[in-house]
């Protein structure tokens, strides 16, 4: 198992955070002009770009997924070859990429009001520029911002956070080194206002009693992320609205 100390005796993690502390989140919306919606998020060193195209008519190779009463979501996740410490040869289409694409598609099909977009397709494209752990979570947060930028109706914000368990205490928002340490890792996507979990994933083995700890840690983390993202969206909206009033 973990050969190195994930939490030091003074209670600090490898990167100097406390166990319940999130990494610094910086974000931006409307990064690209050609996509219908786009966003950029940095969670510590994990940097993700999201672009949304849609809702639009289903493309030719996805015609078999068209539904008469609702829209469907198409997601593709790709990682830049220079994003990880060791150069990656395949940027997309590998096992891990397809896994994350499928999970994000599942997450957003639950969160987007697809009944408002019948017979349409919504594309979510995620590009990881720099990977340092919690890829799924950063991607979900970036996609949420991009969907808001695109003006697509959603039930609520979708915030995701990851947590790990070591020596009885939970670590929130794990980075790459902590991922490699081999402890159990739990990620979940939550609709903060409705207080519902729409996706969760556990890697590794934990005792049944410890599950509650992890879920609580992740919920708290997601609510904190929601606070940051919501504040950003509101300030951006106020800024945009001020352009109209000042003319």
């Amino acid at each position: 198992m973990a050969g190195m100390e994930l939490v030091s005796d003074q209670g600090y993690r490898i990167d100097g955070r406390k166990p319940s502390e999130l990494r610094r989140i910086r974000c931006n919306m409307g990064v690209f002009t050609q996509a219908d919606g786009s966003a950029y998020i940095e969670q510590g060193n994990t940097k993700v770009l999201a672009a949304i195209y849609g809702p639009h008519e289903a493309s030719n190779n996805m015609r078999n997924r068209v539904c008469l009463d609702r829209g469907f979501v198409n997601c593709e996740f790709s990682q830049a070859t220079f994003s990880s410490a060791e150069r990656k040869k395949r940027s997309r289409g590998d096992r891990k990429g397809r896994d994350i694409s499928a999970h994000i598609k599942q997450t957003f099909e639950a969160a987007i009001r697809t009944s408002l977009y019948p017979r349409s397709q919504i594309d979510i494209y995620l590009q990881v520029l720099h990977s340092d752990g919690s890829l799924y979570c950063a991607c979900v947060n970036a996609a949420t911002l991009a969907l808001i930028d695109a003006g697509i109706a959603m039930k609520d914000y979708v915030c995701a956070c990851s947590a790990s368990l070591t020596k009885g205490s939970s670590l929130i928002d794990i980075n790459h080194v902590e991922e490699l340490a081999g402890c159990a890792e739990f990620s979940a996507s939550i609709l903060p206002k409705l207080d519902q979990i729409i996706y969760s994933e556990l890697n590794g083995r934990i005792h049944q009693d410890e599950l509650g700890l992890l879920v609580d840690a992740v919920s708290t983390g997601c609510r904190d992320i929601f606070a940051v993202i919501d504040q950003f969206v509101r300030s951006r909206l106020a800024e945009t609205a001020s352009y109209f009033t000042h003319s």
């Binding site: 050609q34 220079f82 994003s83 289409g93 590009q127």
Partner: protein
Amino acid sequence: MAKVILGDSEKWFIIHGIQDDLRNDGRSCDDYRHIEVETGVISNTHGSSRLRLGNTEVMVGVKVELGTPDPHSPNDGLIHFHVDCSPNADPSFQGRGGEELSSNISCILTRIFNNKTAIDLSTLGIIPHKQCWVVHVDVLILECGGNLFDAVSVAVKASLHNTGIPNIQVTDGDEGTQEISLPDDPNDVKFINTNNCPLLVTISKAGSRHIVDATADEESCCNASLVVGVTRRGRTMGMRKMGEGSLDPESIPEMIETGKNIGRQLHIALDKLLKVEQGMANDIEKVGYL
């Protein structure tokens, strides 16, 4: 959606405007759009850059690895170009959709660097026949707003300028083998000399005139263009005609001249910027997409 669909009358409007030296955004035929370049944006690469040219967005990361040299040039290192078209730029790039475009861009980059002057690969050799530095230049296309070739080449030159290769020591180990040791200080690097790196200039033919730095709309009106690799001194390092139209043999020397002049100016502007950035080095905070 990101595909450019122009009606015939729109295309004629653009072409007639070009005949009068007036393009849709007010530029003349020889003007470039505003270019933003930032280097050192990704920390786990040895060199990187981000470039924005109008609506075109490109990011380049350079990683160096140890590898075996090519048997035909045992004393030289290797440089590989790899281009990835992200689906962020266009939904048709999903899966393997962007393969043709990325093959074209990576092959033309290989073409213009395929000589002894562009990059001195002998400085990348370590132990002849056994070990050398392999420089992987990875280009990521994030948005296509026209003129991809030029944008990619400027970003590649900026990132190579920014690339630091660790200063390694080669010592004789036991049994006649040679050992390589890396320095402890991550800042103990030597930079690649990019004084002779070429830049690509795309000259597109529209009617009887030619334009430089075409936007996506203008590109769909021009059916033939010439992509020329130009060095700082105005010499060519490779050239390719793109597009499904044909060119008049008399206009080719004119297009090459234009390419040379524009290329020289582009080099001067880029070198000035890179010098300023290098001078500021750790003082400025990298902006990236924020």
